[in-house]
Amino acid sequence: MKKKVLSAIVLFIWLVIISVFSLLAYRIDLEIFFVLWLIGILVIVELMDTRFSLPRYLRYIKYLVAAGIVLFGGIVAQKVLEILAK
C-alpha cells in the first residue's frame, strides 16, 4: 500500500477514535479535537517522511502542519489571556 493512502487511513482512524471518546465523554471540544488532530498528523508526517526526496503531497501536508502550528500558538495565547483575565 502506498504511503499516501496509508497515511490517510491512519489519520482517519485517529480522528474516529478522538470523536468516539469525545462522544463517550459528552464533551465535544473543538480545541481539544484540533490539538489531537495536530499531534496525529505530526506523528504521521514524521513517520512517512523521506530523507532525500520530498514528494509533492508531503510538501502540501507540511504546509498544512505549519499552519496548524501557528493556529496552535493562537490557542496557547488565548489560554494565557483567559488565565490572566481570571
Partner: protein, 615 residues
C-alpha cells in the same frame, strides 16, 4: 530521528494511551448526572435536561400545591389557641418545604421562580414559628395580668402590660412581613396554575388574629382603670430617669432615694443595695450613699427599639415604674477585602456605624450568598476576619442584622474577589504581572512569534540537516568532505581558453570543463587526499548526468540511485564502474596506489563517455 527510534516512541505513546484507558475501565462514564459540571454554556447534558423537564411536572408542582395548603391551618390553630396542633402542622410544613428545597437543588433550579417560591415558604415558616411563640407568650402574659390585677399589684401589672405591648407590636410586624411573602407565593402559585385559596385564607385569619389581640388590649385598659391601689409602706424608693427617651449610645441616668417613714419624720437610709431592672431583667446595681441617694448610668446598647419599663428594687421595696422609649436609628456597614494571598486567604475589615460606632455587634460575612462566617465588632465598632476562598470569582458582603439593637439592619456594598490560579501560585513564579497590559500583549506576541518560528523551522527543515547550518543558510558538510570551497567560482588563470561551459540543472554550481576537473582533482588530491578528490570528481559527473537526465534535485539521490536513473544512456556503464570505484574509496576506505590508478582510469573513461553524450 532514526526510524527505529521513531517506532519505539510511537510504541511507547500507544502503550501510554492504553494504560490511561485501563485506568477508566472500572468507571467508563466520565461524566455522571451527579457530577455534572460543564466548562462553558455551550456544553449541555441532554440527559439532565430531560430529567429536569420530567421532574418539574411530576414532582415539583404537587409538592408546591401541598406547601400552599399548610399555612392556612397553622394560622387557624394559632388563632384558636390550639398550640399542639399548630406545632404539628408546622413540623409537617417544614418537612414538606425541605423536600421542595432538596428537589430544587437536585434539579439545579436555583435561579428559577421555584427557588423564589421556596424562599418565600421558608420565610413564612420562620414567621409562623415566631407567631406561635409570641402567641404562647401573649397567653402567659394575659394570665399574669389577671393574677396581678387580682392581687392589686400595679407595678408588676404595668411591667407585664409593657411586655404585652411589645409582643403585640411584634405580631403586627410579623403580619406585615407575612403579607408580603404570601403575596409572592400566591403570585407564583397562580402562574403555575395551583390552587392558592388556603394560602389566602391563612392571610385573612392572620389579619383577624392581629385585630383580636388589639381588641383584647383595649378591654384590659378599661379594666385597669377600676383597680384600687392602696399605698401603705414604711419605706419608699423613689426612681427617676433622665432623659426619658434616647437612641443607640445615649446614656440614661437613673437616680432616686431610699427613705423610710418614722412617724412624721422622713429619713434617707444609707448602705442599701438598689438594683435597677429593665423589662424585669436586672441591668445595674449600686449602694445608697450616706443621704440614701443612688445613681446609675445605663447606656443604650443592646436594647430593642420601643418602650421599656425601668424600675428600681431594694429588698422588697419597689420603686415606681418609669418608661424609657428607645428610638431606632439607621446604620451603615462597610467592608474592605484585601487581595488574596498564596493560599487564597483574604482579610475582611470593616465597621458598623449608627449615630456612633456600634460596639460588640454580631456581623455576618456572606460569601457568594451561601457561605456565612460570623464575627463581631470590637469596642471601636470595627471588625476583622480572615476568609479562605477557593479558586474563582467571589462576592463578599458584610451584614449587620440589628437584632437586639435599636438599629435598623444594614449591608455593605458587595466586594468582588478574584482568586485565580495566578494568586495561588507563589509570587516568584508569576512571570507575567496580571495587571500589566503591555506585558500581557508582549507575552502574547512572543507566544505567537515563537509558534510562527516553529512553523517556519518545520517547513525549512530537511531530515539529516543540522538546524544551525540551516539557520545560517549554509549547507552542512558531510563527514570527510573537503574543507576547500570546491564550488567557488574558478579564477581566470584556472580556466583554459577554448573550454566550453555547462549550466548546472538547479542552481548547482559545478566546474564545467573537463580540464578543470582534472586540475581540481590533482589539486585536492595533493592537498586533502584521494577521498576528498574522488568526491569532487563524483559531484562534477553527477551534475552532468543530472543535467542530461533533467533531474532537478540530484544531490538528494545516492550514487547508486543516480546509476539506476541513467540506465538507458550510453555513458551509464562507464559511470556505474566509476561509481563502484568511488564507493570503494569513499566508503570502503581503500586508498591504495592501485585503487587510485583504477579510479583515474575510470574517471577518464567516464569523462570521455560523458563528453560524447553531452549536447
Amino acid at each position: 530521528m532514526r526510524a527505529d527510534a521513531k517506532y519505539a516512541l510511537i510504541a511507547a505513546l500507544s502503550l501510554g494511551v492504553l494504560l490511561a484507558l485501563g485506568l477508566f475501565l472500572s468507571s467508563p462514564l466520565l461524566y455522571t448526572l451527579e457530577k455534572d459540571t460543564f466548562p462553558s454554556r455551550f456544553h449541555d447534558n441532554t440527559g439532565v435536561l430531560k430529567m429536569q423537564s420530567l421532574n418539574s411536572t411530576t414532582d415539583v408542582l404537587p409538592l408546591m400545591q401541598d406547601l400552599l395548603g399548610y399555612t392556612g391551618p397553622v394560622v387557624v390553630s394559632i388563632r384558636s389557641h390550639d398550640i399542639a396542633q399548630a406545632r404539628r402542622d408546622l413540623e409537617l410544613f417544614a418537612k414538606s418545604r425541605g423536600s421542595l428545597k432538596n428537589l430544587i437543588v437536585k434539579l439545579d433550579m436555583s435561579q428559577s421562580e421555584m427557588q423564589e417560591f421556596s424562599n418565600s415558604k421558608e420565610l413564612q415558616q420562620q414567621l409562623l414559628t415566631e407567631l406561635l411563640n409570641s402567641s404562647v407568650s401573649l397567653d402567659t402574659l394575659n394570665n399574669l395580668e389577671i393574677r396581678y390585677r387580682d392581687e392589686n399589684n400595679p407595678d408588676m401589672l404595668m411591667s407585664v402590660q409593657y411586655e404585652g405591648d411589645a409582643l403585640r407590636k411584634k405580631v403586627q410586624e410579623l403580619y406585615n412581613q407575612y403579607q408580603v411573602e404570601t403575596g409572592k407565593a400566591t403570585a407564583i402559585g397562580t402562574k403555575f396554575g395551583l390552587d392558592t385559596t388556603t394560602e389566602e385564607t391563612g392571610l385573612v385569619e392572620f389579619e383577624q388574629y392581629v385585630k383580636e389581640i388589639d381588641r383584647n388590649r383595649n378591654q384590659q385598659d378599661e379594666l385597669n382603670r377600676a383597680i384600687d391601689i392602696p399605698i401603705r409602706r414604711s419605706a419608699r424608693l423613689s426612681f427617676l430617669i433622665n432623659p426619658e427617651s434616647g437612641v443607640y449610645g445615649d446614656r440614661i441616668e437613673c437616680f432616686g432615694d431610699y427613705f423610710s417613714f418614722d412617724g412624721y419624720h422622713v429619713e434617707g437610709v444609707p448602705g442599701k443595695e438598689v438594683t435597677v431592672f429593665l423589662d424585669n431583667a436586672p441591668v445595674s446595681s449600686t449602694i445608697t450613699d450616706e443621704l440614701g441617694s443612688y445613681k446609675v448610668i445605663i447606656p443604650i446598647e443592646r436594647i430593642p427599639a420601643g418602650p421599656h419599663s425601668l424600675y428600681a428594687q431594694s429588698g422588697t421595696t419597689l420603686s415606681d415604674i418609669q418608661t424609657l422609649t428607645v428610638q431606632p436609628v439607621g446604620s451603615t456597614t462597610t467592608i474592605s477585602v484585601t487581595r488574596p494571598d498564596n493560599k487564597g486567604d483574604v482579610t475582611c475589615t470593616g465597621s458598623v456605624t449608627a449615630n456612633r460606632p456600634v460596639r460588640f455587634a454580631p456581623v455576618q460575612l456572606v460569601r457568594d450568598t451561601t457561605h456565612i462566617t460570623e464575627t463581631s465588632t470590637n469596642a471601636q465598632g470595627q471588625f476583622k476576619a480572615t476568609l479562605r476562598l477557593p479558586e474563582g470569582r467571589h462576592t463578599v458582603v458584610a451584614r449587620f442584622s440589628g437584632e437586639g439593637f435599636p438599629i435598623t439592619p444594614s449591608e455593605s456594598m458587595p466586594q468582588v474577589v478574584d482568586v485565580s490560579i495566578l494568586r495561588i501560585i507563589p509570587a516568584y513564579m508569576q512571570i507575567i504581572p496580571a495587571d500589566n497590559t503591555f506585558g500581557i500583549l508582549l507575552a502574547v506576541a512572543g507566544i505567537l512569534l515563537l509558534f510562527a518560528g516553529i512553523a517556519w523551522y518545520y517547513l525549512r527543515r530537511i531530515p539529516g540537516r543540522r538546524s544551525f547550518d540551516l539557520l545560517m543558510g549554509r549547507e552542512p558538510s558531510p563527514p570527510g568532505t573537503p574543507a576547500t570551497d570546491l564550488f567557488a567560482p574558478i579564477s581566470a588563470p584556472e580556466i583554459e581558453p577554448g573550454a566550453g561551459e555547462m549550466r548546472a540543472p538547479s542552481g548547482e554550481t559545478f566546474q564545467p570543463l573537463d580540464e578543470m576537473i582534472l586540475a581540481r582533482y590533482a589539486r585536492i588530491l595533493n592537498a586533502e587526499g584521494l577521498s576528498a578528490a574522488a568526491w569532487v570528481v563524483y559531484r562534477q559527473f553527477a551534475g552532468r548526468v543530472a543535467h542530461d537526465l533533467l533531474i532537478q534535485r540530484h544531490t538528494t539521490l545516492t550514487p547508486r540511485e543516480l546509476c539506476h536513473s541513467c540506465i538507458q544512456r550510453p555513458f551509464c556503464r562507464a559511470f556505474s564502474s566509476f561509481v563502484s570505484t568511488y564507493e570503494r574509496i569513499r566508503y570502503g576506505g581503500q586508498r591504495s596506489v592501485a585503487m587510485q590508478a583504477e579510479f583515474e582510469n575510470r574517471m577518464q573513461s567516464t569523462q570521455s563517455e560523458l563528453r560524447g553524450g553531452s549536447p
